[in-house]
Each structure stands twice: as C-alpha cells, then as structure tokens.
C-alpha cells in the first residue's frame, strides 16, 4: 500500500500541460501587475502610510525587503518591478528554476507590504511554489530553445505530482466554496438569486445594474449550475478514474465514459468562469482560475488535441494554396 502511494507520487509525464499552465498563469499575473502601472497606483497600493496604503511596510516584523531597504514608496515600486520582471521571465521560461522562485519571493513580499487582496492572491501564493518546483519550464520556453540549440536532448518527462497537486487544490477550492454557500440566495429558498444579485452590486457589476433584467432567468440557472458544479467537484476524481480504467465501473462506468461526464464538468467550469469574467469586474480571479484549468488535462490528451488542431490548420492551408 505504502509502496503504491510512493510510486503514485513518483509518476512522470510529458511536460506540456504544466508548461501551458506556466504560460497562462504568467500572462494573467503579468497583466494584473502591469495594470497597477497603467492605473498609476503602485505607491498607493504598496507604498507605506501616509504615502500609500501598504501598511505591511510598517508592520512588525516587516517583509524581508523592507527590513533591508527600509520602508518607502521606492521599496514598494522596486518589489513590484521585481515581480513584473520575474513574471515575464517565468512566462517565457528563462532560467526557469531561478526566475520562478524569484517570482514566488516577490509575490510573498508584495503580499507582506499589502495584505489586502482577494482569493486569487492567496491561491497563487499556494500554487506558485508548486509550479516553481515543477518541470513547467521544460518545453515551450527559452530554456528549452537554448537546450535544443546546444544540441542537448529535450526533457521528455517531468514529475507529475505538481500537476496532481494543482488539480487537488482547484477541486478543494470548489468544495470549500460550495459547502460554505449558506446564504439562501444560492438555493431554491432564495430563488437562486445569487448571481443576479452580484450583477446588481455596483462595485462588481460590469454592466449597469438592472439593465439586464431580461437575462435574470439565465442568472438563476447559472446559480444552480454553480452549486451543482462546485458540490460535485469531488466526483471529478471518480470521472477521471473511470476514464483511465475503461474496463471498470460496470454499466455506470460505461455511461460516464460515453457521456463524457468529466469533459462536461470541465466545460461547465470554463463556461461559469468565462461568464464571471464577462459580467463582473473582479479582475484576475476568473482569468487566474482558467489559467490553471489545463492542469485538469492529461498531457496525452493535450498533445492529441494539439496534433488535431495542427492537422486541421495544415489541411486548411493546403486548401487555400490549392
């Protein structure tokens, strides 16, 4: 039993899924950080009082960088710049082993200067060290390109445990969110009004609250779907197991496989988060979660999808040429 457990966490797989997560997470985080510069709020968010609201800079103990450089708006800006540069290098996969940990450090220190954030900040602080310890820089990266140029063989496999942890973490986020939705509005007693209510919240609604009344029934369906989706998150592991073991599960297993329940569950998640991104102004959260979604896709599935897309593209180009 123990040996099987040890062997499970020792599994290896092609690095493409983790690399895709690296790129998407990096792009999402980079865009979020750059917005701070576009809106000119870097000192306002991370600078110490009274110049900014980064009260963590004057806390005891202060973040490491503040202890070294002192509390100032410049320290906040420097940390932000370190995060942006390391995030860009992380995304491109340049010296991945180093830059990924520099990004982890920068994000922790930024969080120390300004501890007010939302759940995606907490989630990224948990998952970035996992990504940094993974082989996510093995392909689709500058490191891989240099390795190839030097005539070294590419990494065909990397440890799979980081991807497994990403999946477990995402499932836990859904489970935790699902069973804590105690407000009536998430259930039939409140008429499944929750999402419709958020769209009426002046701080979160992307469109003028009350202007999309005709869509209200769809928001009720969205609320119901959200609850079903989140509370059924633990079953994802059952759907996955049944897919990986074609002969198991009897008639129920056959139905699950034939109906592609696992993929329906994933598509529901993508649709819900896309809906949130489209209709609510909550920034990084839906994009950050969607950036992690490739972790649900096993590398052979991703490679098969890419091969299919490539062949379709080539076919189309050939038709055009003809």
């Amino acid at each position: 039993m123990i040996e099987r457990w040890v062997a499970f966490w020792d599994r290896r797989e092609a690095p493409h899924t983790l690399s895709l997560v690296r790129i998407l997470v990096g792009v999402a985080l980079f865009a979020d950080l750059v917005q701070a510069a576009i809106f000119d709020v870097i000192p306002l968010v991370w600078g110490p009082p009274p110049l900014g609201s980064g009260y963590g800079q004057s806390a005891d103990p202060a973040p490491l960088v503040v202890r070294v450089l002192g509390a100032s708006a410049g320290t906040g800006t420097l940390l932000w710049a370190l995060a942006v540069v390391s995030c860009a290098l992380f995304t491109l996969g340049v010296f991945y082993r180093i830059t990924s940990w520099v990004l982890v450090f920068a994000m922790v220190e930024l969080g120390g200067c300004q501890s007010v954030g939302d759940s995606i900040d907490s989630l990224f602080r948990i998952l970035m060290p996992v990504l940094a310890a993974s082989g996510a820089g093995a392909v689709w990266s500058v490191d891989a390109w240099f390795r190839q140029r030097r005539g070294k063989p590419g990494l065909e496999s990397v440890p799979a445990w980081p991807r497994y942890l990403l999946v477990v973490q995402l499932l836990w986020v859904y489970i935790s969110a699902g069973y804590q939705r105690d407000a009536k509005t998430w259930g039939p007693r409140g008429g499944f009004a929750a999402i419709g209510n958020v769209l009426g919240d002046p701080h979160f609604a992307r469109f003028e609250p009350g202007s999309l009344t005709f869509l209200y029934p769809f928001t009720c369906v969205g609320t119901l779907l959200t609850m079903v989706f989140e509370l059924s998150a633990p079953l994802y592991l059952v759907w996955l197991w049944l897919e990986l073991n074609p002969g198991r599960g009897g008639r129920f297993g056959n139905v699950v496989r034939r109906a592609r329940i696992r993929w329906i569950w994933l598509a529901t998640g993508v649709a819900l988060h896309s809906g949130i991104a489209l209709s609510m102004k909550i920034g990084l959260f839906p994009f950050g979660i969607l950036a992690l979604y490739p972790a649900f896709v096993r590398p052979p599935e991703l490679l098969a999808a890419l091969a299919w897309a490539r062949s379709r593209l080539e076919q189309r180009l050939r038709w055009r040429a003809a």
């Binding site: 701070a36 900014g52 300004q114 509005t185 958020v198 009426g200 009344t213 869509l215 102004k281």
Partner: protein, 191 residues
C-alpha cells in the same frame, strides 16, 4: 538512495495535503452549524481550536510563504446590503462637496480605472460588516494625491453609500445612508 528520496517526497506531499485539509476547516463554522442538532454543533465548534493547535508548529513556515488558510468562502452571501463608493472633494469656500467619482456613475469618473482596479477595490469594498485595515491609510494617500493634482481642493471625503439589492435582477436601490466616512483635510497633511 533513490527509494529513500521517493519516500521522503511522498511523505512530504502527504503531510502538505493533510495540513491543507485541516487548514480548510471553515472559519465561519459557528454560522454554518447553527441549524445543526446541538450535540453535533457543539462538537463542530471545537474544530477551530483543534485546527489552530494542529497547524501551530507549521504556521511560521506557511507565514513565510504568505499562506494563511485553505478556507475559500467565495461569494458566500450575495444580495441584501451592499455599498457604493462616493469620492468627493471641497474647495476653500466651504460650500458643498464636488462629486469626483461614484461607482457606476458615467458622469463622475475621476480616477475610475484605478478605483475599479481589483487591488484598490478590495481595500475599500466592505466585506459584510467590516472593511479592510488598509482603508484609513488608503483614504489619506488618495487624498494626498488629489490635493497634489487639484490645488483648489482643501478637503477630500470618501464614504460608502448603503444600497439594497433589488429582487429579480432589477439592480439596486440607494438607502440614503452612508458608512465608513473619512474626511481628510489638506491642512492636516501639510502640517
């Protein structure tokens, strides 16, 4: 040697998963178990203390990584009382305040991009019955910036209008009440 490393790693991952599970026990447990039978609810209410004692030895390491919880109460409650930010400023004459920004008001969009940026929004958007610790410093820093850009203003006021979310997706209705009001005077900052 390799087998040893594999075992250590599997043990480490198992420990992380177990600690993550404990850290995920809900902080809002009192509210969640209120409708439960009393003996069961009393048992559940012992969880937070148990959780704290289990996590205590690992808290310094988690704290260094900025990891504090695995509890995710996302949009747990919606509707009811919500808020709408008003940013106002007043000149030397002491007459009425000029409205600079108000959420979802196309005519008052001063600094709107920044105020709607999620890292700023999280500072001033009240969560149920509390507002972030950064809010007072934020109002001062924002006022400082407005005074620098607009010489005519002597006072800056931030306040959150309480609104009620209407049923059937009809938006919200103002209540006329304000909360979390902060007034910052130029003279205080230049002292």
């Amino acid at each position: 040697m390799r087998a040893d490393w594999r075992t250590v790693r599997a043990f480490g991952i198992t420990l992380v998963l177990a600690l993550g599970f404990v850290a995920g026990w809900p902080n809002r447990i009192a509210k969640l178990v209120a409708p439960w039978p009393k003996p069961l609810a009393e048992l559940a209410l012992k969880l937070p203390a148990l959780k704290e004692s289990i996590l205590a030895p690992f808290a310094p390491v988690a704290g260094r990584l900025g990891i504090y919880s695995e509890d995710w109460p996302l949009f747990a409650g919606t509707g009811g009382r919500r808020y709408r930010l008003w940013l106002e400023a007043r000149g030397r004459g002491g007459r009425g305040f000029t409205l600079l920004y108000r959420a979802h008001d196309p005519d008052h969009r001063y600094f709107a991009g920044a105020l709607e940026y999620r890292r700023i929004l999280n500072i001033y958007n009240p969560h149920h019955d509390w507002i972030s610790d950064a809010y007072p410093d934020f109002t001062t820093a924002l006022a400082r910036r407005i005074f620098r850009e607009q010489r005519r203003f002597q006072e800056v006021r931030l306040r959150l209008e309480e609104v009620t979310i209407l049923s059937d997706g009809r938006g919200y209705a103002p209540t006329g009440r304000f909360a979390y009001e902060r007034l910052v005077r130029r003279a205080e900052l230049e002292r």
